[in-house]
C-alpha cells in the first residue's frame, strides 16, 4: 500500500463535531457551536481534496472488525473514482448547506442540537460511501437513516413532524430488511462482503448469471427503493419535508436519498450479471420518475413540489442504472445534488422571506423583493428543466440516450423519461411563476431578502448548477470506468443530436404550458385544472397513502390492539407477571410469620433446627446400623 491518505479523518471530523456539539452545545455560545459545526465538514472536504490527488483506487484498512470462524470482516475504507465523486458532493454541498443553516436556523432554540445531528449525518454518510465492504456500508446506511429520523422530527413538538420521522424510519426499515437479506445471501454464496473480493469472485466465474445473483440484486434493490424513495416505498420522502429546509436540501435531496443509486453502482458487478434485475431497476426507475412527476404537477406546498421532483429525479438515476449506464446515473446524481440543493435552499429563502409560509397560493411577486433568491432559483429551474448547456441537460441526456440505446424496452423507458422531462419543466416553471411572478397574494407584505450566510451558498450552488454539466460532459464515463466498467453504448452522430433536441423540446413545451396556465391567466383560476377528476387524483397523490393505510397500517394497528395488546400483552405476559407476583406475595404472607420480633421464638426455631440437623447427622449411625442388621436378618 502506498502512503496513507488518512481517510479516517473524513468521517471522524464530523463525528468529533457531533460529540462536541451534542454533549456541550447546550452550554456553548452560538458562535462556538457554528464554528465547530462548520469546521467539521470543511476539514473533511479539505482531506477529500488532498486525497483526490493520490493514485486511485486507494484502500486503507484499520484492522479486523469481526472474526467468526471463516468469516472475516475488516474495517476498510476505499477511495476510488466513484467514492471520490460522492465524497466531494457530500462534503462540498454539505459544507455549503451548513453555512446556509447558520442563517436559516439562527433563531431556533435547538440550534446546537440541529448542528450536532447534521454533523452526525455527515459522519454516517461518509462512512457509507467510504466503506470497503457491504457490512460497513450497512452501518453507514442505518446511521444516515437515524440522522434522517432525528432531523425530520427535529421540531418534535409538532405531531406531524414526529409522525413523519417515524414514517421515514419505518418505511426505511422495510427496505433495509431487503438489504440485509441481500447481505446474508452474499455471505452464504461467496463467504465475503468485501466489494473487491466479491467483484473478483464474480469475475472469475464468467458463466454465473441469473439465479442467486438475481435474488441478491433484487434484495439489494429493495434496500435502495427504501432509502432512495422509489416505488413502492417512496411515501416517506414527501412527508420528510416536515424537517427544516436545509435538512431537506442536504439529506432528502442531495445526498442521503442518492445512497441507493450509489449502492447499486457500487455493486454493479452483481446487477450486470442479472438482466432481469436490471430490467426491474429500469422499470421501477422510469415508473417512479413519471409517477412522482405527475403528482408534483398539482402540489401547492413549495417543498412538496420539490420533494416529488426529487423522487422523480431519483427515478431517472435508477433508470440510468437499469440500462447499465452507471456513470450517467452518477453524473445525474452529482448535477442533481447541485441544482436540487439549490432549489431547496432557495425555497427555504423564499419561506424565510414569507415568514414561514409554504403554500405557493399565498406567494407571488417575490421577484422584486428577493432578487438574489429569484435569480439563483431561476438558474436551478433552468438547470433541472434541461435548458441547453445547463447541468441537467448533459446528465439527463446521457441517461435518456443510454436508455434509447438499450433495446426495445429501453425505447419505451426512454419515452417515459422524455415525457417526465416535459412534466419536470412544467411543474418547475409552475413553481417559478407562482412564487416570483404576478401580484403578491400574501396579506403580510414585509417580505425581505435573506441574510448573506444564506445567499452565499445559493450563489455558489447556482454557479455549479449552471456549469456543473461541463465537469462531466463527455468524460465522466471515462473517469469512472476503472470502477464501473466501460460498457456504454454510445449513440452516434445525428441520432444523439435528435435525442438532445427532443429532450429540450419536451422541456420547452413544459415551460410553454406552465407559462400559459400560470402566468397569462388570472391568479384565481391558476390552480383549477381542466380535468377535475384527474386533478383530484393527483391532488390526493393517487391515494397511495390511503391505500397503504388501509392494507398495511390499519390491519397492523388492529392486530396490535386486539391481539398483541389484549391477548399477548395483557393476558399472557401480564397474567404471567401477576402469577409470579401472586406467588411471591403469598409466600411472603406465610413466611413473615417467622419474623415475629420475639427472641424466644427465634431461639425455639434455632433449637428445633439444631435438633433436626442433629437427627440427620446421627440417624445413619444410630438407626442405620439397626436397619442394616434387620435387613441382614430378613435375608
Amino acid at each position: 500500500m502506498n502512503e496513507s491518505l488518512h481517510l479516517w479523518l473524513i468521517p471522524l471530523l464530523p463525528f468529533i463535531g457531533f460529540l462536541l456539539n451534542g454533549l456541550l452545545g447546550r452550554r456553548l455560545p452560538k458562535a462556538v457551536v457554528s464554528a465547530i459545526a462548520l469546521l467539521a465538514p470543511l476539514g473533511s472536504f479539505l482531506v477529500v481534496l488532498l486525497a483526490s490527488r493520490a493514485a486511485l483506487p486507494h484502500s486503507e484498512s484499520y484492522g479486523n472488525w469481526i472474526t467468526v470462524g471463516p468469516l472475516n470482516i475488516d474495517l476498510t475504507f476505499v477511495l476510488d473514482q466513484l467514492s471520490l465523486i460522492m465524497l466531494l458532493v457530500i462534503t462540498g454541498v454539505g459544507f455549503l448547506i451548513h453555512i446556509y443553516s447558520v442563517g436559516y436556523m439562527h433563531d431556533d432554540e435547538g440550534y446546537w442540537r440541529y448542528f450536532a445531528y447534521l454533523n452526525l449525518f455527515l459522519f454516517f454518510m461518509t462512512t457509507l460511501v467510504l466503506a470497503g465492504n457491504a457490512l460497513l456500508m450497512f452501518v453507514g446506511w442505518e446511521g444516515v437513516g437515524l440522522a434522517s429520523y432525528l432531523l425530520i422530527g427535529f421540531w418534535f413538538q409538532k405531531k406531524s413532524a414526529s409522525d413523519a420521522g417515524k414514517k421515514a424510519f419505518i418505511v426505511n426499515r422495510i427496505g433495509d430488511f431487503g438489504f440485509l437479506i441481500g447481505l446474508f445471501l452474499l455471505l452464504a454464496n461467496f463467504g465475503t462482503l468485501s466489494f473487491s473480493d466479491l467483484a473478483q469472485k464474480i469475475a472469475a466465474n464468467p458463466t454465473m448469471t441469473g439465479g442467486v445473483l438475481t435474488a441478491i440484486a433484487l434484495c439489494l434493490f429493495i434496500g435502495a427503493t427504501g432509502k432512495s424513495a422509489q416505488l413502492p416505498l417512496y411515501v416517506w420522502l414527501p412527508d420528510a419535508m416536515e424537517g427544516p429546509t436545509p435538512v431537506s436540501a442536504l439529506i432528502h435531496a442531495a445526498t442521503m436519498v442518492t445512497a441507493g443509486v450509489y449502492m447499486v453502482a457500487r455493486t454493479h458487478f452483481i446487477f450486470d450479471r442479472s438482466p432481469l434485475a436490471l430490467s426491474v431497476v429500469a422499470i421501477i426507475g422510469a415508473a417512479t420518475a413519471l409517477f412522482a412527476a405527475t403528482i408534483g404537477l398539482v402540489q401547492t406546498d413549495i417543498k412538496r413540489v420539490l420533494a416529488y421532483s426529487t423522487v422523480s429525479q431519483l427515478g431517472y438515476m435508477f433508470l440510468g442504472c437499469g440500462v447499465a449506464a452507471y456513470s450517467a446515473a452518477i453524473f445525474h446524481l452529482m448535477t442533481h445534488a447541485f441544482f436540487k440543493a439549490l432549489l431547496f435552499l432557495a425555497a427555504g429563502s423564499v419561506i424565510h422571506a414569507m415568514g414561514g409560509e409554504q403554500d405557493m397560493r399565498k406567494m407571488g411577486g417575490l421577484r422584486t423583493k428577493t432578487p438574489i433568491t429569484f435569480w439563483t432559483m431561476t438558474m436551478a429551474v433552468l438547470a433541472i428543466s434541461g435548458f441547453p448547456f445547463m447541468s441537467a441537460f448533459f446528465s439527463k441526456d446521457a441517461i435518456l440516450a443510454a436508455a434509447f440505446a438499450s433495446g426495445s424496452l429501453g425505447k419505451l423507458l426512454w419515452f417515459v423519461g422524455l415525457v417526465t422531462a416535459g412534466l419536470t419543466a412544467f411543474y418547475m416553471f409552475r413553481l417559478w411563476y407562482l412564487t416570483f411572478f404576478g401580484e403578491t397574494r400574501s396579506h403580510d407584505a414585509h417580505s425581505h431578502e435573506s441574510p448573506w450566510s444564506m445567499l452565499g451558498p445559493l450563489a455558489i450552488l447556482a454557479v455549479l448548477s449552471v456549469g456543473g454539466g461541463w465537469i462531466g460532459a463527455g468524460r465522466f464515463g471515462a473517469f469512472l470506468s476503472p470502477v464501473l466498467g466501460t460498457k456504454t453504448e454510445e449513440l452516434t452522430g445525428s441520432l444523439e443530436y435528435i435525442m438532445m433536441a427532443l429532450a429540450v423540446a419536451a422541456g420547452a413545451l413544459g415551460w410553454f404550458l406552465a407559462h400559459r396556465m400560470y402566468h397569462q391567466r388570472s391568479a384565481a383560476a391558476q390552480l383549477a385544472a381542466p380535468a377535475p377528476a384527474g386533478y383530484n387524483l393527483l391532488q390526493n397523490k393517487y391515494y397511495v397513502d390511503e391505500f397503504y393505510n388501509l392494507i398495511v397500517v390499519k390491519p397492523l394497528l388492529t392486530l396490535s390492539k386486539y391481539f398483541l395488546e389484549w391477548v399477548v400483552d395483557f393476558a399472557i405476559l401480564g397474567g404471567l407477571a401477576w402469577l409470579l407476583a401472586g406467588i411471591a406475595s403469598l409466600s411472603g404472607a406465610i413466611l413473615q410469620r417467622w419474623q415475629s420480633g420475639n427472641i424466644r421464638s427465634y431461639a425455639a426455631w434455632l433449637a428445633l433446627g439444631a435438633a433436626v440437623l442433629l437427627y440427620f447427622v446421627l440417624a445413619p449411625h444410630v438407626f442405620g446400623a439397626a436397619s442394616l442388621h434387620l435387613g441382614m436378618a430378613g435375608h
Binding site: G597, N598, I599, R600, A603, A607
Partner: protein
C-alpha cells in the same frame, strides 16, 4: 479427676443431657434476661461434663483441655453479656426478653 468405677459411663452422659435440656428449656421459656443468661451457662457446663466424661473414657487429655477453653470463653461471655444486660436495663428499665424486641435501644 477420679471417677468411681462402679458409676457407669452412661450415667454421666445422661446427667449431661438432662442439664443441657434444662438449659435449653430455661433459655426458651424464661422471661428474665439474667435467667436466660444463666441457662446458657448451664448448657455450656453440661457440654463440659460430657467432654470430661469422654476424656476419661478414652484416656485422652484433649477433652479436658477443651473444657478449659470453653470456660475461658464462658468467662469472657459473662463479662460482655452482663455489661450488655446492665446497658439494656439502664435504657429500658426492664429485663423482660419479650419487650426487648427493637434493634435500636
Amino acid at each position: 479427676m477420679h471417677l468411681s468405677p462402679e458409676v457407669p459411663l452412661v450415667w454421666y452422659l445422661l446427667l449431661s443431657a438432662v442439664l443441657f435440656c434444662l438449659g435449653v428449656v430455661g433459655f426458651l421459656i424464661k422471661r428474665n434476661l439474667i435467667t436466660v443468661f444463666m441457662s446458657i451457662e448451664l448448657m455450656l457446663n453440661a457440654v463440659n461434663l460430657s467432654f470430661v466424661t469422654f476424656a476419661h473414657q478414652w484416656h485422652d487429655v484433649k477433652g479436658q483441655i477443651f473444657v478449659f477453653f470453653v470456660m475461658v470463653v464462658a468467662a469472657a461471655e459473662a463479662a460482655v453479656g452482663l455489661a450488655i444486660i446492665i446497658a439494656v436495663f439502664r435504657a429500658r428499665a426492664t429485663l423482660a426478653v419479650d419487650r426487648i424486641d427493637l434493634m435500636k435501644l
